[in-house]
Symmetry: C2
Subunit: 395 residues, 2 copies
Amino acid sequence: MNAVDSVLDAAPVADWRSYPIHVALVGVQTANDHLAVTWSDARVSPFHHQWLRDNCSCSQCVYSVTREQLFEIVDVPPELHPQRTRIDEQGQLLIDWQDGHHSRFHPGWLRAHAYDDASRAERLAQRPQSRLWGAEMSAQLAQFDYPTVMTDDHTLLQWLLAVRDIGLTQLREVPTTEDVLPALAKRLSFIRESNFGVLFDVQSKADADSNAYTSFNLPLHTDLPTRELQPGLQFLHCLVNDATGGESVFVDGFAIAEALRQEAPELFRTLCETPVEFRNRSRTSDYHCLAPIIALDAYGMVSEIRMGNFLRSAFDVPVEQMAALYSAYRRFITMTREPRFRVQRRLDAGQLWCFDNRRALHARTEFDPASGARHFKGCYIDRDELLSRIRVLQR
Amino acid sequence: MNAVDSVLDAAPVADWRSYPIHVALVGVQTANDHLAVTWSDARVSPFHHQWLRDNCSCSQCVYSVTREQLFEIVDVPPELHPQRTRIDEQGQLLIDWQDGHHSRFHPGWLRAHAYDDASRAERLAQRPQSRLWGAEMSAQLAQFDYPTVMTDDHTLLQWLLAVRDIGLTQLREVPTTEDVLPALAKRLSFIRESNFGVLFDVQSKADADSNAYTSFNLPLHTDLPTRELQPGLQFLHCLVNDATGGESVFVDGFAIAEALRQEAPELFRTLCETPVEFRNRSRTSDYHCLAPIIALDAYGMVSEIRMGNFLRSAFDVPVEQMAALYSAYRRFITMTREPRFRVQRRLDAGQLWCFDNRRALHARTEFDPASGARHFKGCYIDRDELLSRIRVLQR
């Protein structure tokens, strides 16, 4: 890398990232509706004229304070062509447009946004991958010390990456005071409120408005499957646990879904394609959500599990699909009961679960409320906030 | 309706609804894996054995306090059969199961949940329909008085139904104090927080972290397209508006999408099927979301528009799809600029917009901050909360 590259490296290009120049621009050829750019590693990247004009980052097109675009592509005709193109002495692509506008593209930025097949495949391969787990996780829990998480950004990042990639973590050395969750949430972003409150108290209540607030065995579920967007992260902070029973159970819903995809692909497909309704009705609220139990992302990867048997409506599918839906549903529930997938641990006072609520199904074994106090405090934070915080910490 | 029916009518069946009996059960026939029930209007509804056992609402199967299921279908074998079935003197379906369990089904509940083709089509036809609008809405705004909304449940419901079905409403006679939005939100449910705060202040700021906080023309957009779930409702409360310019502009994104579906089906399809990335980066946050501009629900109806040109990343699709994506995107943006779709109104102090942020794209014309003060206060509430509140008010 020469001196000029280093200067360019440091310059942010209309956002908060910087774009190192690993590969230089070495040539540019004009075609009908695009430029074909050649890189020093011989890769050729086509860039459409419209794409280039759209992504001009000059101070007329992008407001420098917010780094947001002022220009809209419809402000120029679709057939707008470059008048002249060249690579300058700093290795940047310069374009003089027919209408007199000038654009300049940083080679690091351009390479990072190239959309030829090789560049797109490279970016795809760099996406974070979920690490699937089963019963063995019980002995390998991702554990972090609360005091360190609260003071050290590196530990905070390691914890958040574990939440993102594993989906089940535990914090230890947590004070048993009610101000912990608001403080911890603030370290990430902010709490997602629900009809159960900003913070909720998991304890046995006479007037329970959810089976969670009883002492019953609670089967494996995600929280709030009745909402269009299920809460991303769930926090369960143990203030006191002197009761007999009431152990926490977790399974990796992604691992179960992938096992189902292998073992019974047609049942997997049924759970991906059949919308099921979940509902939660109380005196003051009435939530419904119609969505499949397994959701896939744009790449076909499992991105979300939605499950809460006690919040499910009667199945409502055409008659000829009903038997298949029950087969698939039974198989999924049966898998959540298989020992190979289950982690069962007691949470003691001063410990805190933080897990991906859209992935790690959780349950509680029955407990005896007469045997001692049991009080967990809980809250939610959405996945968007987790990912945003990780990106900022990684800058 | 006879006396017995009236008694049954009043009984809630394991939820907060009641199920009037419009049609009586007149016969039940046993088949291999289901019962075929005949109604007094000659409709025949098959109910699978598993579905019936799954939906038993007895006190062993459903906890009466929470009205949530304790039983799970995997607790019985898939081949469980009824031993005996009959219709009792109250018109209910009784089933004695092989394993000794007994179930009783209220005919009103059973009819409301029947999944034969005719019953499903009936329910589908009863879904709320969006009322599409264009420029004519400017003279027909759905307006409500704030004081009445705050005190009268019927007016509250009429307003919320207008928000749901039209997606653009105005409240008048609103005090110009900062406690209005929290009070109004509480009348519905609770506010959805974002990185911009619980409440946000729309005014021109020197250190803007969004183009919304400048005096520039702001093109038609939805708020927070950078989040997996865009906020459902947006509230904009005008405290003062003495500046020149700065008019509010709205278009019905559903109307534009439906017009596009008619006028250029292939462009419509491109916007439904191509995930586009939106991002919003600041010193303390870094949000990304990859999703199509037009989302369809399970019935193929337009359910959401996601659009914010100033928050959009560089398009990242395979080379051979890029020109088509630009054609579709340009066409959509061009349509948002067409007079036939646009409502332009000045919001004065004491007025408040409440609109469906995932449907009604909004914009602001440029204003002159030197000409006078302009201060709007804003907040969000999610669609789930709107629909829940409507259902409770309709009970």
